[in-house]
Symmetry: C2
Subunit: 190 residues, 2 copies
């Protein structure tokens, strides 16, 4: 999606010797609703024919883009909650997620009330790199016996293994900006 | 706002002997975008003439409603991040928030890049009870020297002290559903 790639080129900042891409001025801290709307419209163009009954994301930075996208699909938006608690309610599906950024493992969970076998779920998230959040989210969908239609991702770091690993398992992933490489010199998209 | 009150009466569940209101089927876990749109429209009707330059909320459950509301205001939406880390970057404004639900204190923070003295900020959040999140958010706005236009709240527990305390300090708070009392028998709005 050229609009998003152009915006990343213009306003993204590459840090820590080319390993971190900061897009916090428009995507995941301060959020640009005009851009979000174009992203939501594009996800709907890509997945609108799949009979999606619900969008699933994980807190916190996936929520905004999932909500805007939900308007195009006209379906409810569900976000998985992060928990460090060891006492997990029996009324939830939960899955562990390893955070590479913070070096810790936490659980994500959704209420069993809101994921059902007849659901056709589209996962929405802002980033895909190592695929840890996607591991957790796909596990929640599987535990519920629901159908996973695919994953709509804003920015994929294609030089990290998460996207390839999930595609090899048969998951349809549509990433609107796929970064092939980045460094202090700049950024190259696939 | 009758639409929200009716929805709370219909789908809200009162737990723990009348102390907890669960609205997780439509407001803060699974989210109904049609309802969110009506909420966003109403916040814009109430605050649309105030020259708002930015919406401010706090992760996680405030983000969705703030984003949908941001479409009506046509301004960026900024969410404060929660942190348990003791190492706070000098490039952020931060403030402590006491969580009554979890009995802990955490910091919320926003990058100094995104709050400026010329900003006119509207705070958006899903719940107001003891006012702890609102304390933290107003502190961030004050630290930046920005103007706080008011706070748009979906559900206020008017029998808890947060709303009254902040109104006495001169803050304009518009709560779309104000709960006077609730118990196993039902719920009464102001």
């Amino acid at each position: 999606m050229k609009l998003l790639e152009d915006r990343i080129r213009r306003d993204g900042r590459i840090r820590e010797n080319g390993t971190i891409l900061k897009v916090d001025s428009f995507l995941n801290h301060q959020m640009d609703m005009e851009l979000y709307n174009e992203i939501g419209r594009e996800f709907h163009r890509l997945f609108g024919g799949e009979g999606v009954t619900k969008l699933l994301t994980v807190e916190a930075s996936g929520i905004g883009v999932a909500c805007i996208t939900g308007q195009y699909f006209k379906v409810p938006v569900l976000f998985a909650k992060k928990s460090r608690s060891k006492n997990i309610d029996a009324a939830v599906y939960h899955a562990p997620v390893r955070s590479y950024t913070y070096g810790e493992v936490y659980d994500i969970m959704v209420s069993k009330d809101f994921l059902h076998p007849e659901d056709r779920i589209l996962i929405i998230d802002d980033f895909l790199a190592n695929g840890a959040a996607l591991d957790g989210l796909t596990s929640l969908v599987e535990q519920a016996g629901a159908t996973l239609v695919g994953a709509g991702i804003c920015v994929e770091k294609a030089f990290q293994p998460g996207g390839e690993r999930h595609r090899q398992k048969g998951l349809r992933i549509e990433s609107l900006a796929r970064i092939k490489s980045m460094s202090g010199e700049g950024i190259e998209f696939c």
